[in-house]
């Protein structure tokens, strides 16, 4: 592993203070090994980016770690506690909360109700105490206060009483992030937090992600936009075809030619000039002609 290759970007590196450690996590769909991770650690208090091309298995890996999907094999611990086979709601209660690539806001609840739902240990969530408001009113009030503070921080306070379904795509991403914070997680896992968000809002989202780290939380996020990843992450993990192919500080990882090839393909950064384009077109045409000639010969 890391020791043998001595590379700064070797996969499966151990961390000084890991919050999450996973080993041999494999998930197959029929013949496809969607996730096949030998060893993976997340450093506490850092922003770790998980990148990789479409179909690399990032979201599936997310689902496995948070209990939304069951692996064929594998074990992982969070704060030293085993999380294999633990139900998603228990994973969340232990302090590991995720968001979704396709944002899941609760459309026909208001923004503030979405937020309140995130609070843990609510007395009023028990069937029998629900009827007796005095049992939970104080707690509800303090939860609401916390929710309002978060909404203000995420600039959603003006939308407090609107249905969540009426929010724009970017606002939904913000709401989902804010709602996850209501659980007060140690590790927050963001699945493509920037997808479908307009550039102006992206900047503020970036700021929010950084602020999560600044208040002592650990962040793992999936992202496609390399500039974004370079900008905010402390550590980058690259997945391709289910495996982790490299990890390291952003600049090292992006300089790693193996990563560049595996992840982006060999020609990712060359912009096509007119000459190149003409050449490609000519090649394609020649190919087509050859094929036509072939079929004509056959008939």
């Amino acid at each position: 592993m890391a020791a043998e290759t001595q590379s700064v970007t070797a996969p499966g590196q151990t961390k000084e203070n890991a919050i999450l450690v996973a080993d041999n996590v494999v998930r197959t769909f029929g013949g496809l090994r969607a996730v096949d991770v030998e060893h993976f650690e997340i450093e506490r208090g850092k922003i770790t980016a998980l990148i990789g091309p479409n179909g690399a298995g990032k979201t599936t890996f997310f689902n496995l770690l948070t209990g939304f999907d069951k692996p064929d094999t594998g074990a992982w611990t969070f704060n030293g506690e085993s999380l294999s086979g633990v139900a998603p709601y228990r994973v969340a209660r232990k302090g590991m909360v995720r968001t979704f690539q396709l944002t899941k806001v609760l459309s026909r609840l208001t923004v503030i109700e979405n937020m309140r739902l995130g609070a843990t240990g609510q007395r009023g969530e028990k069937l029998l105490s629900s009827v007796f408001a005095p049992l939970w009113r104080d707690q509800e009030r303090s939860n609401t206060k916390r929710a309002e503070d978060l909404l203000e921080r995420f600039k959603l306070d003006a939308k407090r009483d609107d249905f969540a379904g009426s929010l724009s795509g970017g606002q939904r991403k913000l709401l989902e992030m804010a709602r996850a914070l209501m659980v007060d997680p140690e590790l927050i896992m963001l699945d493509e937090p920037m997808a479908g968000v307009n550039p102006a809002l992206k900047q503020s989202l970036l700021g929010h992600v950084k602020s999560l780290r600044d208040e002592g939380r650990t962040v793992l996020f999936v992202e496609h936009d390399m500039d974004m990843v370079r900008d905010i992450s402390d550590w980058v993990v690259v997945m391709a075809q289910g495996k982790i192919v490299a990890e390291g500080p952003p600049d090292d990882v992006m300089a790693d030619p193996a990563v560049v090839d595996a992840y982006l393909g060999a020609h990712h950064d060359t912009e096509l000039s007119f000459e190149d384009e003409a050449k490609i077109v000519a090649e394609a045409e020649a190919e087509i002609e050859a094929e036509i000639a072939e079929t004509e010969e056959q008939s």
Binding site: T66, F68, A87, P88, Y89, R90, A92, R93, V97, R98, T99, F100, K104, V105, L106, S107, R108, L109, E113, R116, L117, G118, T120, Q122, R123, G124, E125, K126, L127, S129, S130, V131, A133, W136, E140, F163, G165, S166, R179, A180, M182, V183
Partner: protein, 330 residues
């Protein structure tokens, strides 16, 4: 018969025991479908289990009526557990299939000829409501409000049933504005999101199924008490569909939706029947259009049409909030 009779007949049905029973069943279904998003198509099974527990325990095994009512409600808890344990992990559409099949299975078993001695086959059970009848304080002549008449025992059942319905509405109002109700509504919107926030979704769904099922059983028990009879034909699948109709007319996920829905549904169902009956007899509608025999089918045809129009122009029901529907739920 005159037009006033048509109107008073419709009002009698709108407030009568039938409407009250469907109102109760719809209150239960509202917890399932309206608040939690559980597509339960087996509400008739919960009603039947409640009604039959009372009928069979009193008539066959000669138990006390009040004890039997308690057992009937507990039987609904049991049914909810049996039904919920395997199916609540399934997606909504599978739950619908499983519940409609389970309801039919319950009906076939309780109506089976081989269980004739216990459950009375297709005739069901009867003559078990004497203890209830003996409590009736209404004078034997019945009650009259102008042209509107109720028989004595019917009126007693109505008072008991509608009081229960209003009490349940109050309790549900309190529950649904609590954090508990918020979790249910969250599950309706997106159960994975609720899971990701650390809530045991399965557990809440089970609570919802049990609570709504017990209220359904109460409807079945009231039905048995009202007619002093329970029979398999009272609890066929169309019972569940009528309950859904009642719920949708009033507006799903609205506290008073089932009450308004039941009153409106039975007003029109009976009113239309009386109207077409009278219209054909008076030759208001000539024979070459329809005869009085055919007229009895008209109520369902018109009701179907009204339902379609309601779904097109007011899909949120009477009490629904248009804004909610403007939002694409998925």
């Amino acid at each position: 018969m005159n037009w006033l009779d048509v109107l008073s007949g419709a009002v009698e049905q709108a407030l009568g025991p039938q409407a009250m029973i469907y109102c109760l069943a719809a209150i239960g279904l509202n917890i399932h479908f309206g608040y939690t998003g559980l597509l339960n198509f087996g509400q008739a099974a919960f009603m039947m289990v409640g009604g039959y527990a009372v009928g069979a325990l009193v008539q066959t095994w000669e138990q006390n009526l009040w004890l039997s009512i308690l057992v009937g409600l507990l039987a609904a808890v049991l049914l909810a557990l049996v039904l919920g344990v395997p199916t609540l992990r399934l997606r909504a559409d599978y739950l619908a299939i499983a519940t409609i099949a389970a309801a039919e299975a319950v009906r076939q078993v309780l109506g089976a000829a081989s269980l004739n001695d216990q459950f009375g086959g297709q005739d069901g059970r009867f003559g078990f409501a004497d203890d209830m009848k003996s409590l009736n304080p209404i004078e034997p002549g019945g009650v009259h409000f102008g042209p509107i008449d109720f028989r004595s025992y019917d009126f007693f059942i109505m008072i008991v049933g509608w009081s229960l319905a209003l009490l349940l509405c109050g309790v549900i109002f309190l529950m649904m504005r609590s954090p508990w109700g918020r979790v249910l509504k969250g599950i309706r919107e997106d159960e994975d999101a609720v899971r990701s926030l650390g809530k045991n979704v399965y557990f809440y769904k089970m609570q919802s199924l049990i609570l709504g099922g017990v209220i359904g059983a109460a409807a079945g028990i009231m039905s048995g008490l009202a007619t002093d009879n329970v029979a398999p034909s009272d609890f066929a699948t169309d019972t569940t569909f009528f309950v859904y109709t009642v719920l949708l007319i009033g507006g799903a996920a609205r506290v008073f939706g089932p009450v308004a829905g039941a009153v409106i549904f039975w007003f029109f169902l009976n009113g239309l029947d009386l109207f077409f009956d009278k219209a054909t007899h008076d030759n208001l509608i000539p024979d070459w259009i329809m005869t009085s025999d055919q007229a009895s089918l008209m109520r369902l045809i018109v009701l179907g049409l009204v339902l379609m129009l309601l779904m097109i122009y007011r899909p949120q029901g009477i009490f629904g909030d248009r804004r909610e529907l403007a939002i694409d739920g998925r």
